[in-house]
Symmetry: D2
Amino acid sequence: MIVSMRPKSTENEVNGVLEKLESLGFQHHISRGVERTVIGVIGKIYPDLKDTLELMPGVVEVVRLSRPFKLSSREFHPDDTVVRVGDVTIGGAERVVMAGPCAVESREQLMETAQAVKEAGAHILRGGAYKPRTSPYSFRGLGEDGLEMLAEAREKTGLPIITEVMTPADVGLVSQYADILQIGARNMQNYILLDEVGKVDVPVMLKRGMSATIEEWLLAAEYVLAQGNQNLILCERGIRTFETYTRNTLDLSAIPVIKKLSHLPVIVDPSHATGKWYLVAPMALAAAAAGADGVMVEVHITPEDALCDGAQALTVDNFRLLMGQLSTIQKPLQQATL
Amino acid sequence: MIVSMRPKSTENEVNGVLEKLESLGFQHHISRGVERTVIGVIGKIYPDLKDTLELMPGVVEVVRLSRPFKLSSREFHPDDTVVRVGDVTIGGAERVVMAGPCAVESREQLMETAQAVKEAGAHILRGGAYKPRTSPYSFRGLGEDGLEMLAEAREKTGLPIITEVMTPADVGLVSQYADILQIGARNMQNYILLDEVGKVDVPVMLKRGMSATIEEWLLAAEYVLAQGNQNLILCERGIRTFETYTRNTLDLSAIPVIKKLSHLPVIVDPSHATGKWYLVAPMALAAAAAGADGVMVEVHITPEDALCDGAQALTVDNFRLLMGQLSTIQKPLQQATL
Amino acid sequence: MIVSMRPKSTENEVNGVLEKLESLGFQHHISRGVERTVIGVIGKIYPDLKDTLELMPGVVEVVRLSRPFKLSSREFHPDDTVVRVGDVTIGGAERVVMAGPCAVESREQLMETAQAVKEAGAHILRGGAYKPRTSPYSFRGLGEDGLEMLAEAREKTGLPIITEVMTPADVGLVSQYADILQIGARNMQNYILLDEVGKVDVPVMLKRGMSATIEEWLLAAEYVLAQGNQNLILCERGIRTFETYTRNTLDLSAIPVIKKLSHLPVIVDPSHATGKWYLVAPMALAAAAAGADGVMVEVHITPEDALCDGAQALTVDNFRLLMGQLSTIQKPLQQATL
Amino acid sequence: MIVSMRPKSTENEVNGVLEKLESLGFQHHISRGVERTVIGVIGKIYPDLKDTLELMPGVVEVVRLSRPFKLSSREFHPDDTVVRVGDVTIGGAERVVMAGPCAVESREQLMETAQAVKEAGAHILRGGAYKPRTSPYSFRGLGEDGLEMLAEAREKTGLPIITEVMTPADVGLVSQYADILQIGARNMQNYILLDEVGKVDVPVMLKRGMSATIEEWLLAAEYVLAQGNQNLILCERGIRTFETYTRNTLDLSAIPVIKKLSHLPVIVDPSHATGKWYLVAPMALAAAAAGADGVMVEVHITPEDALCDGAQALTVDNFRLLMGQLSTIQKPLQQATL
């Protein structure tokens, strides 16, 4: 950490900072430049130290040099994390496709969709039993009934299932059914929930919050990893910007950035990012070309009847088409020299 | 709701939409313009109808004409909501000031701050016992011990207390201590938590999410109101933008917008919005001039020792100064003719 | 255009709107719903009509149904525009690669780079002679000398050249040298400049402004087209968001959106969007997979000596690598049924 | 400037950086911490040095410690700049009000408005003769005829006039009429235009770009100051965010930030920021309370007939009301101890 003093700071001001650092157990070294004095801080730095120092007289700015995340950082864990779910591996040489309806709406709807995406080549079945909805008047999911239908679909198709858990009290229950627990974008900073899924023995997929920087996303990942659960997958699903034509703006540059900063696998969800079915295939292909470890897309047998987000669901035919196109794009090797 | 067809849409396409509407129980009326046909939809519209219709052949766009929030809307509840907490009223003729430390750190720190803000004229004491922190390695609050200290501070000073509840399982406990339950920005769309605080008999203050539109904020309010709790206060605390000099961008125009759209009181938190103590007073004064029902500011007896957000805390002296300046700005009358 | 009245609007209010419309020469039709009255407006609508109507008593909202751009719209021009520059076509079946240094720095630097990108397979040479720089103290380009070097590089390599024009007074001069005139992101709404390049007989590439919506971008395109120049290319180069790890956020979903809304070709510039060389190749590949008509990348023989944006420049070796990877991704057919 | 090496960087890597610095004429000092080596750079740093160094092997990050703007910085110019226009001073003890129509539409409209705002207490008359419009099909102003009407209005009322100049070629002409040249938000980074207005002897008001950070805004100011024109005023007019209820988000925290970083006066334009007339008064009052040196508001005699931005114009009656409210808010003293 570097403390930058104002031009012409006094000896008193500089000494004040040095004494504060010493009282907190830090070593330091001073550099007196032509324009200003700069103090380097050596030791185990905690987040609030920046605040403390910036309040001292004569200090203009305090700059952090190391990144605040550790367990999710590639610096401290150079090899890629590979998450195994049944026969499927996420983060390895293969690219995975997660597909299924936004919400589980009925036994028939789910079974038919599950069968169809299985046949088209999907590796994992998605479906929401608990749905976070912007309006309290929207359909909020079938709850445990939905979980049971998902388990039945898994039995019928052999596909592992991923489903969202919205609140700490449900983690136990959902863990009994799910092969992967999904944490939604709105809950990326629901820290009690992150703690809770960090304690169970089920892989977790953590979606990026709509207004989360990549650093905040990795810090949220840190919550899960710090509790012991190392089977963690990240999922980019679009960030909030001023553009209104798409629901959110899919930030595909996050893929190579995450690959550089972290060892965790990254999945991309173009359905929620764009909110429009005809943008899903181009963005899924782009995600694959950019090096994503997989994509998650919504598929509905009759999108116009969907109880949730029908406008972004692919029909089964369009999903089949996408699977064909995806197969033409090779998964790039991890660029170790980044 | 208005369904806009593409130029030169066919009779089949138009009839498809009409039949769909009829099958769902809606009335309609058609207008055939020079350039395109437009269909009006009459009946009780639910959010996903837009998705359904936009997927139909020939449809270019579906435009919602009524607002999706009801209970929080001034259209359906013309009079201002006034929340009473002990002797304090929020949303009435007076402007309230909530002040105190970011986090309760110790008995001494809290008692000293509480006494000081009371003497300076604050109406409500704030202090966090449960702290949502971006990094898992930061101080996360004293928990129930902190709540007990808050209760003791209330007893000593007579000030009602506001404190954050982070997760549904804590709502019962925190409600036993708090006079107002605070829902933090990161939890604005934690719907299970919103449901839960909607069921208790304690006023709630709902902070705007960092990337929430005003409409989404009012829809989150709808969750609380729909469960029966009408003692709801909104709190603007800055939104996320590209500007990095301030932590967030305080959106003061949200105050008159909320006053127009809704009957709920609005408080402004300039401390979290700006992240810098020297911006707090100017922004608190601006909030008052713009018509806020109150401000919430962080005060610390020794900001440089704070365990949380010291850089944004006012000293007691600066808080006293602010109280003097605030008293020169009159609370504007509600502009009924907006 | 649809005028939505407030619930319980009076006859006087409704008549006021109808009379206003008639006085302005518009036809109308009324629909009286259970909750509110809605008035449809028929005729040639101009942008400010919305403002006029929203100010009338009883009006809650005015909703535009048709898009404000015409000449750039696919509705009115269904076939793809293909721009020809020498032997190169942009917007057709092939994907083009524009490559070269950010700025022309010297004869040697330019000739060497031009030769290298030509050999690696680039189709068009880029290089700035006039550079818009955030700070007045940065290198601002070689001006006409730079243009002459570009012309010489074209002669030597056979590659057409694209270079930026920053101000109306330079359009004549730059047009004598350039095969394509580039309008930079900061100038997307420099309307006098747009008018000017709309009058010359040289193709134009219009970069999206950092904070421009897709609609505003197409309206800027409208300026050029309205002056007669139909050889127009769009270029997505990242939008401004809260994420700071990348310089901007590359909005690749803009590619399929533009393909749907407009007939104009779209190029993607991953160098300026990301600001980091190691993100350029993944994003160029993603752009190709998403259906871009081409990419523009910065290449420098010795990036660490660049006078401008060295951090985002590819070395010649890395550019060669990228060309190989790009060739594995097929250009998707225009999806006519979108 | 600080160069942070990766953990376990080699001697070769460190020496590479040191030799590069020496070859460029910089002094340096090294600090070898437990985790990483850090190199301080001493000398006159130019913007692109960061890029150069970040490309060197072993370098993780390069952090700038001094601010890139000089002439606009309070560090180098501690006293407030006060701009004098006739009898009016901007940036001094008084707060100024600039008022008038968005666009000059006719002689009658302008004279009537000018008279009315003069009587209500405005200090400066605003009015656009050249209008930047998002759509080429909107009214673009009366040009020189408009300038002549403005000059006549000045003669009649005694009010100095402020009007926009859009392109370098018009600077001479507009300077003959205007008392203050306005640079619009879309032109904040039109560097040739900034150079040009930096050379004339007429005060300039520089609006913040819609997506400009405060630092970029001050760097744009630097262009004008560097050419010699020291009579520069800044104008906050809202930034682009995801919120769509208001046209832009007025960033009032920019006022105290500018006051801290710079000596230049700051005006606030709530009309363009909000786009809705009923938000103008609350935001003008808030700007005053936050310490703005003045406000600029649009006033129209018949807003519903305005050719430009009628929805944001105050009627003369509402403007009079606002002037009364503004007079109750004292201009805060410059907080010298910030």
